[in-house]
Symmetry: C2
Subunit: 222 residues, 2 copies
């Protein structure tokens, strides 16, 4: 039972120090792995036929949700309902940069967010915003800020950024034709390497399309 029989004090201290260092490393590695992984999803279209009234009514409040939709379509998860849910998850801001926007369900979702106090900004294409069925007029009428190009080229982006954090982008124009009939894709992403450049692109275009830069032509000047 002498000091020579068991490990010496210095040995124990060395062992403990090294053991602690190892433990800290293991814990750090585990914590790193537990970090929430960024959202990475792909949605394909055409979307399955489904009724999104319940989803929109639920988002509008308890009064609207009490009236069930009489349509015969099933209420099921589909690419459109997933897109709607992502948009409706916005708490602070929704930045839209859309070539063409005519789908009424998506229009209602955007108006709902605006009424809820979410800061909505819309950039769109001048030549497409005036087409029959466009939602842009309704959004403006509801008090949502809209800016557009005055170029001969198209403002052909089709992306949305939720709370400056979730980027939704792809081939999909926000039209019922595209949602129901076309082969389309949407990517949902939170990786900063993708989100940051799109945030910057949005701000760049938003400033470039500031109405103070618009040119107005009178008949006399033609």
């Amino acid at each position: 039972m002498g000091a020579a029989g068991g490990p010496g004090r210095a040995g124990v201290a060395l062992g403990l120090a090294l053991g602690s260092a190892g433990l800290v490393l293991v814990l750090a590695l585990a914590a790193w792995r537990r970090r929430r992984r960024p959202m990475r999803e792909v949605l394909f279209f055409p979307s399955l036929p489904s009724c999104t009234e319940g989803l929109l009514a639920q988002a509008a409040g308890p009064e609207a949700a009490a009236r069930p939709c009489p349509c015969p379509l099933p209420q099921r998860d589909c690419s459109l309902s997933r897109l709607l849910r992502l948009l409706l998850s916005a708490r602070r801001s929704l930045d839209l940069c859309l070539f063409s926007f005519s789908n009424p369900q998506l229009g209602r979702a955007v108006q709902l967010l605006h009424r809820r106090g979410v800061r909505v900004r819309v950039i769109t294409d001048e030549q497409y915003m005036g087409l029959r069925g466009s939602q842009i007029g309704f959004l403006r009428h509801a008090g949502i800020q809209v800016r557009h190009d005055q170029d001969t080229g198209y403002m052909h982006h089709k992306f949305a950024i939720v709370d400056q954090r979730i980027l939704i982008t792809g081939s999909l124009n926000w039209t019922t034709q595209a949602i129901q009939n076309n082969r389309e894709n949407l990517l949902v992403m939170e990786d900063a390497e993708y989100v940051k450049p799109f945030l910057d692109e949005f701000e760049r275009i938003w400033e470039e399309y500031n109405p103070i830069n618009y040119k107005f032509f009178s008949r006399d000047s033609k």
Copy 2:
């Protein structure tokens, strides 16, 4: 200088074991961090005006590269040249799923790859492939496999997959108008969460648009 003076043998052994474990962890962590990060890029359009002849000539071989282009445009990096470089990096396969394809530079790059022995497959939209300036006829004439829809909806995807590994997708149709005049985006990505669903979508559409499924209408049947 007895056993009681220095660290005991058991203590040293314990310390060494724990130290080794710590070292292994540190090395594993370092190796993990050194892993090549997946490519994550965003390209925006319109692309800067630039001459891509040198790039295409270099890819075509030493003979073509000897003749410099007489055009006055600068040979500089831009979104179009980056896209061309990514495509020309293909060694085994190039899968294209494009709504509209009329840009001659991109058409030449695809033909170059085909001649180099890269397996090129093209899926496109029936209504757009016959438009004036479309590259689809040239690609077919060169012996490249092309398949198309027969739907009323559009085959509106705009993606390319290089060597089943690099996905290039976004809002950009492969037209000169879009490259030179429009606000467009392209994402370059290697993350499996994005590449795999697009690979599957390509194979799904490729089978669905197999010519054995095409319907042919004669005048009599109208």
